[in-house]
């Protein structure tokens, strides 16, 4: 398996031109300090460049948003190339959703249990630790960006704490010449009757509980949806002692063979899938293809589920009787939705990916079409942690290059090859695991679509069919799906599918729903005082 590896920390040419942020500042004389930071005692020395940056008004060379596989890689790579980096993340500790792990404050000798690519993470974490110690990276944990704006060619990130009822600690504003957006994504949800009952979780939510708290969400479970992510979730549940009655895959995995180019491009992924398949066999978990969980039963909480056989289009087969199973946990995995808020807020161009997700358009170097804004990870197209880490590293190197640090072209090209290969694989997986075309036929008018505003499928159908709502935005305005606390993060995809009436989603279906000027909620009090003492 040849994937982008964390490379040795680069040693930049001492004669390198100044970084972008210094072009207006005092002339040259700048010396890249002897990075990497972990080399002997040099790491703790305060270097003159750092002090100059402070004097120039605390503008970082780059702010990286997100400390998952992509963001961590980007931040570490850019900092090791001599750039001054701010790293902002909602979590208390790095790793993102993929490497979510128990509290590092407590001793967990087996903290990597159930993780994938854990060594990759610990290496990144070690490098980050050294860079933070050496003053190369400043990390802002438990912070979310609620607003981003560009003023005088400097990006301003307005931060709020992720802790409810705690005042946001200073600084509430981080300024940087460049931005790397690595906000990751979250589980895509697809309503079926009963999906709003307690006991129904996203596959990612089940996984997060297992990884961060070693906690099992139920005793008897069905894992349903589509895509390879169902397997590790089922395996994790079974290994933790839950009885997994079935993994229901809505598509047929023989579909993998239909895109041979993509499927063979990352042989390691195939092996991973085989390992999971083996583990499921050991736990006696049946894997059912072309089967969907079409209805969740229960009063007050989940007590059962209906499993239905599907035809190629995703319609429930009338010739096969549905099966009713008794469960207390349903884990749905329908793929992921990238977090597009920041991409949209900076005005970067978006596109619809193979899996019908709205994603950021990037060039082969991870640049968006907005100057000095880069994107890496799921936000450029859902493709998993290895791809995300490769994109992050590529973004970090490109960034260094664009800031005037010489970077070996061969290193960039090698990363680009890896990214392309994983991207092809991801595309093949997406093509093999689409949301079933006839999914909407499993629904009733009473099926809840938007839980925040309690909008049913029938209410959206009515504004579409009777009031003439011709697109998702109009349906949202008239029936209120996506107008509540989650701002359509949960129901946006389903609303777009319902108003598109079976056709493939386009940018115009998704982009208006992804526009959220406040990229995270902020209190009126914080908004009223933002930037005080700044301007």
């Amino acid at each position: 398996m040849t994937e982008p590896r964390p490379t040795d920390p680069a040693r930049p040419d001492p004669g390198a031109p100044a970084a972008l942020s210094q072009l207006d500042g005092p002339p040259a004389g700048r010396r890249h300090s002897a990075l990497p930071a972990h080399r002997s005692g040099e790491a703790r020395e305060v270097d003159d460049r750092w002090l100059r940056a402070e004097r120039s008004g605390g503008v970082y060379d780059v702010a990286v948003v997100g400390a998952g596989p992509a963001g961590l890689s980007a931040a570490v790579t850019a900092a090791e190339q001599g750039l001054r980096v701010a790293l902002v993340d909602a979590g208390a500790q790095p790793g993102g959703q993929f490497w979510r792990h128990p509290d590092e404050g407590a001793a967990w000798p087996d903290e990597g249990r159930g993780q994938h690519g854990w060594r990759r993470f610990t290496r990144l974490r070690d490098r980050l630790g050294r860079l933070i110690g050496g003053g190369r990276v400043e990390a802002f944990a438990e912070r979310q960006v609620w607003f981003v704006e560009e003023r005088a060619a400097v990006w301003h990130l307005h931060l709020t704490t992720t802790h409810a009822a705690v005042e946001t600690p200073a600084p509430r504003l981080v300024r940087a010449t460049s931005l790397v957006l690595c906000p990751g994504g979250y589980d895509r949800q697809l309503p079926v009757p009963g999906w709003d009952l307690p006991g129904v979780m996203t596959a990612g939510g089940v996984q997060a509980l297992l990884k961060a708290h070693r906690s099992v969400a139920g005793r008897r479970a069905v894992v349903a949806g589509t895509g390879p992510f169902l397997l590790p979730v089922a395996e994790g549940l079974a290994a933790a002692g839950a009885e997994v009655l079935a993994v229901c895959e809505a598509n047929s995995v023989t579909g993998w063979g239909r895109s041979p180019l993509g499927a063979v491009s990352v042989p390691g992924k195939g092996l991973e899938a085989l390992e999971y398949a083996g583990a499921l066999l050991r736990h006696r978990v049946p894997f059912r293809q072309r089967t969907a969980l079409t209805r969740v039963h229960g009063e007050g909480s989940v007590t059962g589920a209906t499993l239905s056989r599907l035809d190629r289009t995703g319609r429930v087969r009338p010739d096969v009787p549905p099966q009713r199973v008794e469960v207390d946990l349903v884990a749905f995995g329908w793929g992921f939705t990238p977090s597009l808020e920041l991409v949209s807020a900076v005005g970067a161009t978006t596109r619809v990916d193979v899996d019908e997700s709205l994603v950021a358009w990037v060039d082969p170097n991870q640049r968006t079409d907005v100057p000095r804004v880069y994107a890496a990870g799921e936000v450029t197209g859902v493709g998993g942690a290895v791809l995300a880490a490769g994109e992050g590293e590529l973004a970090g190197l490109t960034l260094a290059l664009d800031h005037g640090v010489p970077v070996a072209g061969s290193r960039i090209e090698a990363l680009q090859r890896g990214v392309r290969r994983h991207r092809r694989f991801a595309a093949a997986m997406h093509r093999a695991h689409p949301v079933p075309q006839r999914w909407a036929e499993w629904l009733t008018d009473e099926t809840m679509l938007c839980r925040c505003e309690e909008v049913t499928v029938g209410a959206v159908a009515e504004v579409r069919d009777v009031l003439g709502a011709g697109d998702a935005r109009t349906a949202k305005m008239l029936a209120r799906p996506g107008m509540g606390r989650c701002q359509g993060r949960v129901c946006g995809f389903a609303t777009a599918k319902l108003t598109a009436c079976g056709r493939s989603l386009e940018t115009t279906d998704l982009a208006p729903l992804a526009k959220r000027p406040f990229t995270a909620p902020v209190s009126l009090g914080e908004l009223a005082t933002t930037g005080e003492g700044e301007d």
């Binding site: 307005h158 009777v466 003439g468 935005r473 606390r485 000027p517 909620p521 009126l524």
Partner: protein, 388 residues
């Protein structure tokens, strides 16, 4: 889509929808053309204020009171469809000078037929218990109402459609058909339509439609932002706004102006406005504007400090230099009618406008004199010749 109609309405916002409904009901055949989606412009980027309280005596107030009668009269049976609520307005003044201004305005408004109750400082809490202490005075306007503007638009269009009108979205008018001076139809990207009358209800974009006929209608955009909070238990019961709001609606300043308007919605969210800027159609979200709106709102409702803001939106009020709409026949281009430029009052004024215009289109003398809204009042300058 009809290929010929008595009336072609350009624009499916609240005003276009009201024109379509009243014209259809008057027995005319109507075709609505909309380049985007229904309520896609300012009608989906506003607050649904149906105010009389912010208006001085004059033609706009006459139209507001007339509209109020339409909303609460013949349209009352549909009130539930568009979340119509007679919640009343409460205008507050912080200083004694402000209080004097408020009382003086009330005297003038009473003379013009508005119901106003003076609220002394110690009675304000009876109306709005969460308002800040220490306000100097308030005035209660029971005629101020609220409606959900997208539902108003969608249901008026549905009603018009069910009564025989055509509504075509995704259809752009690219030119007007002429017979000599006369406008006799429209050219669209989906073919030509002939019409006895063409109504320009294009809101903030009405100037562009007028230009197709070679006439000038100086409707310009005035940008505004609104903040939307998380849903809350009942906290704000009226439309609450600061006395300075009245002055700012009538101002023509270019720079940022903010004045507080706060109201809750049927969904439990609180809408916090308002701002005014003349920046063209710039859609950049302005943090200084949002910050100022928030800061001013907190001076009235300090207890909202920890309330989350979920989103903001912006819209472009269609305004004319004299802050009056353009309603009626355009003698410079016979056959062309206008119903646009209602600035920040378009939802409230839509139904009065629609009813009056439908009367005029049917050859009936309108209930209200339309002369103050005459399209040619800004000068009959011809922009350019438009080929037939």
């Amino acid at each position: 889509m009809r290929r010929s109609a008595d009336v072609v309405v350009i624009g499916a916002g609240a005003v276009g929808a009201a024109v379509a409904w009243f014209a259809t009901r008057a027995g005319l055949t109507v075709q609505v053309l909309e380049r985007g989606q229904i309520a896609g412009g300012t009608s989906s980027a506003c607050e649904g204020n149906l105010l009389v309280s912010d208006k001085e005596a004059g033609p706009e107030l006459d139209l507001a009171l007339y509209s109020h009668d339409v909303w609460t009269g013949e349209l009352d049976e549909y009130a539930g469809l568009w979340e119509f609520e007679r919640k009343g307005g409460l205008v507050v003044a912080a200083s004694s000078t402000g209080a004097e201004g408020l009382r003086a305005l009330a005297v003038r408004q009473r003379a013009a037929g508005i119901e106003v109750t003076d609220v002394p400082a110690d009675r304000i809490a009876d109306y709005e218990p969460y308002l800040t202490d220490g306000l100097a005075a308030a005035a209660h306007y029971p005629q101020d109402c609220q409606a959900q503007p997208m539902l108003v638009t969608a249901h008026l269009l549905r009603m018009a459609r069910e009564a025989g009108a055509g509504v075509s979205t995704g259809t752009t008018v690219t030119g007007l058909l002429r017979d000599g001076d006369r406008v006799v139809g429209v050219r669209t990207d989906r073919g030509d339509l002939t019409a006895g009358a063409v109504v320009n209800a294009a809101g903030t974009w009405a100037g562009e439609v007028a230009a197709l006929a070679g006439v000038r209608v100086p409707v310009m955009p005035r940008r505004g932002f609104v903040l939307v909070t998380e849903p809350l238990p009942p906290t704000v019961f009226h439309k609450v706004y600061a006395g300075e709001y009245v002055a700012s609606t009538q101002s023509s300043e270019e720079g940022l102006q903010t004045s507080t308007v706060i109201e809750s919605t049927a969904a439990g969210t609180i809408l916090v406005g308002s701002s005014r800027e003349r920046v063209g159609f710039d859609r950049t979200v302005s943090l200084p504007a949002l910050r100022e709106i928030a800061a001013k709102a907190l001076t009235l409702y300090p207890s909202l400090k920890d309330t989350s803001v979920m989103r903001s939106y912006l819209g472009f009020r269609p305004y004319c230099p004299d802050h009056l709409p353009v309603i009626g026949h355009d003698p410079r281009a016979p056959g062309l009618w206008h119903a646009a430029g209602h600035e920040g009052a378009g939802i409230g004024l839509s139904v009065g406008t629609g009813k009056l215009l439908a009367q005029a289109l049917s050859g009936v003398a309108p209930d209200l004199e339309l002369t103050p809204f005459a399209p040619e009042r800004f000068g009959d300058q011809v922009l350019r010749e438009t080929p037939a």
